[in-house]
């Protein structure tokens, strides 16, 4: 029982971590919380659903298609909602309002076109289980863990070691100087949204598989936001640790106490962490010496 709960917790936490990494990437470069990110994940979930059902694609193909479409949507999100604000050097409050507007718009577009009904993914892994040391573990959970881990590791390697990754980190620290060093900021910001979109696609598919696709599912990503804040906004390792921690603790609470107080717990946990560590577990980098 404990083993099973932990695995489920890690699986959910892995998806939280994916979303939190996406959030954090965007936060670190534009310094605002992109609330529209949840809607991109929601749209991704629908893309995954229709790829599997209406177009009858096999799962791997549907996942890739969803990632690409979500990346495109995320890119358009930046170009339409934020780039003009960026050029006018607007304060980050404006970005947040624009993000909320985008998010409400996208949700309602889905209501108006696809409808409010929940779309259940075909039962790909629903019944499939594996026996692991006496506990039955859902295959879906294992897949979620595998894909989240793979995606996060690839992303980490890219950000840490590629020249573009170095440029992203440089621009997130000081975008003016990065431009002076030859970075085309427009390109780098576009790329960050594409990367965040790829992660949104993966999380959309796994959230759909686990909880179905529905117009307000973007609000689950509040949990991703909570994870990112617990880990320290802007810090990628923080986002991963925050996501896993939240996922595992939530599963334990649901199983051993009551599932209804899960969300009460999550937000209490957030507030408690912030009370004692205002910049999260992995707050921002070393201060510059003057």
């Amino acid at each position: 029982m404990l083993m099973q709960t932990l695995v489920t917790g890690i699986a959910v936490g892995g998806v939280y971590a994916l979303m939190a990494v996406g959030y954090s990437l965007i936060f670190s470069i534009l310094n605002f919380s992109n609330f529209a990110y949840g809607s991109i994940i929601m749209l991704g979930s629908y893309v995954g659903f229709f790829s599997l059902t209406s177009f009858g694609m096999p799962f791997p193909l549907a996942l890739v298609v969803t990632m690409l479409v979500a990346a495109l949507l995320s890119f358009l999100n930046e170009r339409i909602s934020y780039s003009s604000l960026r050029k006018r050097k607007a304060p980050s409050l404006y970005f947040m309002i624009s993000a909320m507007g985008t998010s409400i718009f996208l949700e309602n577009i889905v209501y108006a076109t696809i409808g409010a009904s929940f779309k259940a993914y075909p039962p790909l892994f629903a019944q499939a289980t594996v026996d692991l040391g006496g506990s039955t573990i859902g295959k879906l959970d294992l897949f979620a863990i595998f894909f989240s881990a793979a995606a996060i590791l690839v992303m980490h390697y890219f950000i840490k070691h590629s020249r573009t990754g170095i440029a992203i980190r440089a621009a997130s620290y000081d975008s003016t100087i990065a431009q002076i060093n030859g970075v085309n900021l427009n390109y780098v910001i576009g790329l960050v949204f594409v990367l965040a979109g790829l992660l949104a696609g993966i999380s959309g598919v796994f959230l759909g598989l686990k909880y179905m696709a529905y117009p307000t599912m973007g609000w689950i990503t509040n949990k991703a936001y909570v994870s990112a804040v617990i880990g320290g906004l802007g810090s990628l390792p923080g986002a991963v640790v925050g996501g896993l921690l939240l996922g595992v603790l939530e599963s334990l609470i649901s199983v051993y106490i009551r599932s209804t107080i899960r969300d009460v717990f999550s937000f209490t946990f957030l507030i408690t962490v912030l009370l004692f560590m205002p910049s999260g577990l992995f707050g921002k980098y070393l201060e510059e010496k003057v």
Binding site: R169, Y173, A178, Q179, G182, V183, V290
Partner: protein
Amino acid sequence: MTETEQFDLRIEGLNVYYGRIHALNDVSMTVPEGQIVTLVGANGAGKSTLLMTLAGVLKAKSGSLTFGGQPLPDAPHRVLAGGVSLVPERRRLYANLTVRENLMMGAHLQTKMSVIREDMERMMNLFPIIRERVKQYAGTLSGGEQQMVAVARGLMSRPKLLLMDEPSLGLAPLIVRQVFETISGLKEQGITVLLAEQNAMNSLEIADYAYVLETGRVALEGTGRQLLEDERVKEAYLGIQKKSVEQ
């Protein structure tokens, strides 16, 4: 551009505003290829504004900026591609990146890794301290070390013209001397330098030509030696009091 065309920087009638504040007022100056030109002025005189405008970060209201006969682009990354590199005030290293990564960023437009490695080796010979620090985060270095890295980062793009904003700011006198020796050395490598400094004494000594900026205007110009001898410069920037003869 013809082969004989010189890579001179020409600034003509430049006006820059910060909101309503007229930060640069009808500034004209020339930085001839291969020379060190110094910009002396107090805090707020407009030195940084001028360099940031040249680098494409700030927009000019009017006036013309040309480098080697071509107008300077208005986007920072294209200015750099044109061979003009800025070492910013207060160094502004990426504290979250290692020294090596900071240098890599200086060479961001260079596509050949072999060239980058070669240049990095040159920088480590120029500033031996960098060799010991390459793997450290830039935020952990001392002020003087950070300045070396900032200059090296500015040189990694192999610029024709290096703009330097207050490289001596906050450094110990011994390190300041080292920095100015380095700048003189750049001239020998054929790099043109436009140097903005509050430290008038040292910067005028190495300057071929110099301008004095006062509240956004060019107040005075001349060779470095001329300005060092000038009574107004002595009094205002070198701290030498004129003896009052007449009562």
